[in-house]
């Protein structure tokens, strides 16, 4: 019986020597939080160094570390593996998503600087919340254990609740925050219960072993109709609820419009992009763990789940696009567009599950390559989605500072008063619709390609393709209303002309440029994403 002491020593050695260095970005962010809180104590330092500077420095350091880690992994100088005694995994996929999150953090902080939401005095609180949430999301991205599953989601969500309610005096944000807390807690509770059932049934909480145990459990119980498989199904479903809440998929999306309308545009941007990215990473990990190493283990169960995801995806996309028609508040409109895009990305995950589940059944069908195409599509879409959505929310935030309103009517005629800003908005909007010269089109195209390709495995994928195509056309309706207001309407008589300082339009250009470049020259990103995918699916 090893004594508690040796156990502790081994644990410390393991964390210090091996595990910690692999999670340097999270370390950097934690260090920044501590710095933020401490700096306030020393009065004079606080005057020179505003909080956003420290945050930016911390975020940039984290971004650098993530970047180097990803490159090392790709050129093999660093090995992927499980750390913290199997709780977290350090691999290409994790590194990519964490790099995405760090990059997004840098951009959002820059945005908050321009819009000046967290003013000087409560800057540190805001930024520490944001950093905390990002760390939680990074953990979600590299979770390898059901515990980390729950911890990551909670750590990402809880600071989010507070950030939503950050505008203390505002009635709407307090109401939104309260709704967000209650809804989030409820969903987390259901998820936790699901996790408990799943781990109990399979007897293990570590993700890599789930698949093996699942085949054993399903194998004994004799097929699908048995009690064990039912509980397994219920358990997986309840776990998915937690993720569905974070991804705002249809049955669990009710919080999204209200929260986005209540929260400030920057926070909404953060929630809509970062939490989606992390949640999708976690969903992919969870699905891969269910499928396990040898695909085609228990096809009916997994195809069932894959088709379930597909149905939810179709419903989400259609609902998101249709509900956005009648919106007058831009943030609420962008909320519904976020729901729609979540649906699009879920299509890729559903295709991934279906192809890995019984792709082998189709003769001469290259299963791993098709699966890699799905993951590559998802990752590229996330990468472009980051810029598109941030650009849209940024313009909304920047214009709010001038017109003090977020209704579409307030945008009337702005297009010709501050052309640079509005052209960036046009680029982002058309990319969200998915028109070719822009990145959004390429993301959708890769996903459509994988859907079409996997259509041979299961016909439902072609149905998804058609639904996706129709929704591209439907989505045009409400996105165009923003541009119509900006470019085609005359400004209201009394309204002050909207003069945007050049710094802001430069920021907008900084965001819009990658959207255009990704559309014209996607090769760099697609090959990176393909590398990551080839690692993820052997």
């Amino acid at each position: 019986m090893t004594s508690f002491g040796t156990l502790l020593d081994r644990l410390i050695d393991d964390t210090l020597e091996t595990s910690l260095c692999h999670f340097a970005p999270e370390l950097a962010l934690s260090g920044t939080i501590v710095a933020l809180l401490l700096l306030r104590l020393f009065g004079e330092i606080d005057r020179w160094i505003p909080p956003y500077v420290t945050t930016l420095v911390g975020a940039l350091v984290a971004l650098g570390l993530c970047g180097t880690q990803l490159l090392d992994l790709l050129n093999g100088s660093q090995e992927a593996g499980e750390f913290f005694t199997g709780l977290l995994v350090f691999d290409h996929f994790g590194a990519f998503v964490r790099g995405l999150l760090a990059l997004f953090l840098v951009l959002v902080v820059a945005l908050t600087v321009l819009t000046g939401i967290p003013d000087r005095e409560d800057g540190p609180d805001f930024y520490s919340l944001m950093l905390g949430s990002t760390i939680g999301m990074m953990i979600m991205a590299s979770a390898n254990h059901m515990l980390m599953f729950f911890v990551g989601i909670e750590m990402a969500s809880v600071p989010g609740y507070v950030m939503v309610g950050f505008l203390k005096g505002n009635r709407k944000s307090s109401e939104a925050a309260f709704k967000y807390v209650v809804y989030g807690a409820g969903a987390a509770g259901v998820m936790l219960y699901g996790v408990s059932l799943l781990t109990g049934l399979l007897g293990t909480a570590s993700l890599p072993e789930l698949a093996a145990r699942l085949t054993i459990v399903l194998g004994h119980s004799g097929g699908v109709g048995s009690a064990e498989s039912l509980t397994a199904l219920l358990a997986v479903l309840m776990v998915m609820v937690g993720l569905a809440f974070k991804l705002s998929l249809v049955p669990f999306h009710f919080w999204c419009p209200d929260v986005f309308e209540g929260a400030s545009a920057e926070v909404a941007a953060f929630l809509s992009v970062a939490s989606k990215g992390a949640a999708f990473a976690l969903l992919v990990r969870f699905c891969m763990s269910l499928i396990g190493t040898d695909p085609g283990a228990n096809p009916e169960f997994l195809t069932g789940i894959g088709l379930g995801l597909g149905v939810i995806a179709a419903v989400t996309v259609t609902f998101g696009n249709l509900a956005a028609y009648s919106q007058t508040n831009v943030k609420r409109l962008l909320a519904y567009s976020t729901i729609a895009h979540a649906g699009f990305m879920l299509m890729a995950v559903s295709a991934l599950v279906v192809v890995l589940a019984n792709g082998a059944a189709v003769p001469g069908f290259d299963v791993p390559e098709a699966a890699r195409m799905c993951v590559e599509g998802l990752l590229f879409y996330l990468f472009v989605y980051l810029f598109m959505n941030l650009g849209a929310f940024a313009v909304v935030a920047l214009l709010r500072n001038q017109t003090f309103s977020e209704d579409i009517e307030s945008f009337n005629g702005v297009g010709w008063q501050s052309p640079a800003l509005c052209i960036c908005m046009a680029v982002c909007v058309f990319s969200l619709v998915g028109l070719p010269p822009l990145g959004g089109f390429w993301g959708k195209l890769v996903i459509f390609m994988s859907l079409f390709n996997i259509g041979e495995v299961h016909w439902f994928m072609w149905v998804l393709l058609v639904v996706g195509g129709l929704n591209t056309v439907f989505s045009l309706f409400y996105y165009i209303r923003i541009l119509k207001a900006m470019f085609m309407r005359e400004p209201a008589e009394g309204a002050r002309p909207v003069e945007v300082p050049s710094a802001i339009s430069n920021y907008a250009l900084l965001i819009a440029l990658p959207v255009l470049l990704l559309g014209l020259f996607p090769t760099w990103t697609t090959s990176l994403a393909h590398g990551v995918a080839t690692w993820l699916i052997p």
């Binding site: 254990h145 059901m146 515990l147 729950f150 911890v151 909670e154 809880v158 609740y161 507070v162 309610g165 203390k168 005096g169 505002n170 009635r171 709407k172 307090s174 109401e175 939104a176 925050a177 309260f178 709704k179 807390v181 209650v182 807690a185 409820g186 987390a188 509770g189 259901v190 936790l192 219960y193 996790v195 408990s196 059932l197 781990t199 109990g200 007897g203 293990t204 909480a205 570590s206 419009p257 209200d258 309308e261 209540g262 009648s326 919106q327 609420r332």
Partner: protein
């Protein structure tokens, strides 16, 4: 053989879970809803502990339940702060009155 087998404990956990959910959906008072949240989390906790005892889950179950308790506490603190802020702005804690954001 000890009297209490796994199913009984699971039953209690399920009951706790269902009570928590019902409490969340029916209570009009904000704080009441938060209590419901706690019940749901504790129900899951009970499951974890039961599984670590009866199945091959082992210590993981207990470690998870520890974490759950910690996180539940954090969440409760945050939730109460937000509830307070909600009260300050709406001068009521009645949840149904907070429906300005809709449509």
């Amino acid at each position: 053989m000890d009297a209490v087998s796994l199913n009984y404990v699971l039953a209690i956990g399920a009951v706790l879970f269902v009570c928590g959910v019902i409490c969340m959906t029916t209570k009009r008072n904000g704080i009441g809803i938060l209590m419901g949240v706690e019940l749901v989390l504790n129900g899951a906790n009970l499951n974890f502990v039961a599984f670590s005892r009866y199945t091959s889950l082992g210590l993981d179950g207990q470690v998870v339940s520890l974490f759950v308790i910690v996180l539940a506490a954090a969440e409760a603190a945050v939730a109460l702060a937000i509830a307070l802020n909600f009260y300050n702005n709406h001068l009521t804690i009645d949840v149904d009155r907070g429906d300005e954001l809709h449509g």
